[in-house]
Symmetry: C2
Subunit: 215 residues, 2 copies
């Protein structure tokens, strides 16, 4: 019996294609994202699920070039500190390109809003589910951007308190990512960290179990 | 100049459609998810981005009916405790259907794996980015399921320590969701919590700002 809610095989294939072709981009080719496209991408983000329908996501669009440069500097500072924390892989890490804040068409800071303690639904024992909701919103934005041929990179190399201060965030709000968005010359065929030999992805079957955590 | 990486307008529309039609489902119609479909959905999850390519997601498929019932019971226990924490909205909350663990075709527990402290890339100051990665994986699975005409509900009403114990999770691993997956009679036209009058979603423009957090 066929499922009346299923999309056509071609449509299902598009969904899998965009999931497969999405990449965490660090190389951008400048250019521009028009306002309609940006609005469409933010609408896609806003259609994400959220725990108790709390919609904890906030987005700050960075149009001030000086602010963009300060965010870049904060990431550079954390890049050095992360490298120091990496021990023997420090030099290898420092060779990687980890962000494209200065090169991308648009910078968006994705954040958790303040006042989240009011929302208990699904969060009494798991308050961090608000981060899960923002992450789903970012993934929606990422997939919608890929379909438009736009790259997106999620940068989490920063001191969140410093970024919060730059943007004037109130107590209780916190940044979760600096999102670099825009045209790219090409999408990486594989994740860049795989291409660069940083790590090898594991196959999904190693990460599955049945009824009980594997020993 | 057209973007050579952009999908066709019809393909872009499919991506936005699946994002718009995904729902957090609590009503299932029993049935079955065939193995090929389940494997395809888990592959979609596995294609998610992850911080430093650490792939922190783990999935435990629950095929043991007694285990499924124990998970259901843990959620029921937390439902009562959450209701108590809700004060004046307690009775209203208790009327809501919050999960479909006993009715859905498949139950998957999504979790963070152990040993995550080894991964510093993108996590020195923001260790919780591993949860963001798992959340993106779940959103991929969710969208792929919707395209197949299958509903998914993400349940976070439980004591994570109790669920971890049920599944024999080691120190350092933690469950992030009990995912209910399977055929549904119909998809909600709007989020169920909106239909039920629990809350009204806010428009995206209230959640956007430029350069500085709004006052």
């Amino acid at each position: 019996m066929s499922n009346p809610h299923a999309y056509t095989p071609d449509e299902i294939a598009v969904v899998h294609r965009v999931i497969a072709e999405r990449r965490d981009m660090r190389h951008f080719s400048g250019g521009h994202v028009d306002d309609d496209t940006l609005a469409r991408l933010l609408e896609a983000a806003h259609r994400a699920p959220s725990v108790g329908l709390m919609q904890p996501w906030r987005f700050v669009r960075v149009t001030d070039l000086a602010l963009r440069q300060r965010l870049h500097l904060l990431v550079e500072q954390e890049r050095v500190l992360t490298a120091e924390a990496m021990g023997e892989r420090s030099a290898e890490f420092m060779k990687l390109k980890v962000q494209g804040i200065l090169d991308c068409a648009e910078v968006l800071v994705a954040a958790l809003g303040d006042g989240r303690e009011r929302h208990v639904f699904g969060r009494r024992t798991m308050p961090h589910m608000d981060l899960a909701s923002v992450s789903c919103a970012i993934q929606n934005l990422w997939l919608a951007a890929r379909a438009e041929g736009l790259g997106l990179g999620w940068v989490s190399l920063f001191d969140p308190a410093a970024v919060a201060q730059e943007l004037g965030m109130p107590q209780g709000a916190e940044p979760v990512g600096i999102l670099c968005l825009g045209p790219v010359a090409r999408f990486y065929e594989r994740p860049m960290l795989e291409d660069e030999g940083w790590t090898s992805p594991r196959p999904i079957n190693e990460l599955l179990a049945e009824n009980r955590w594997p020993d």
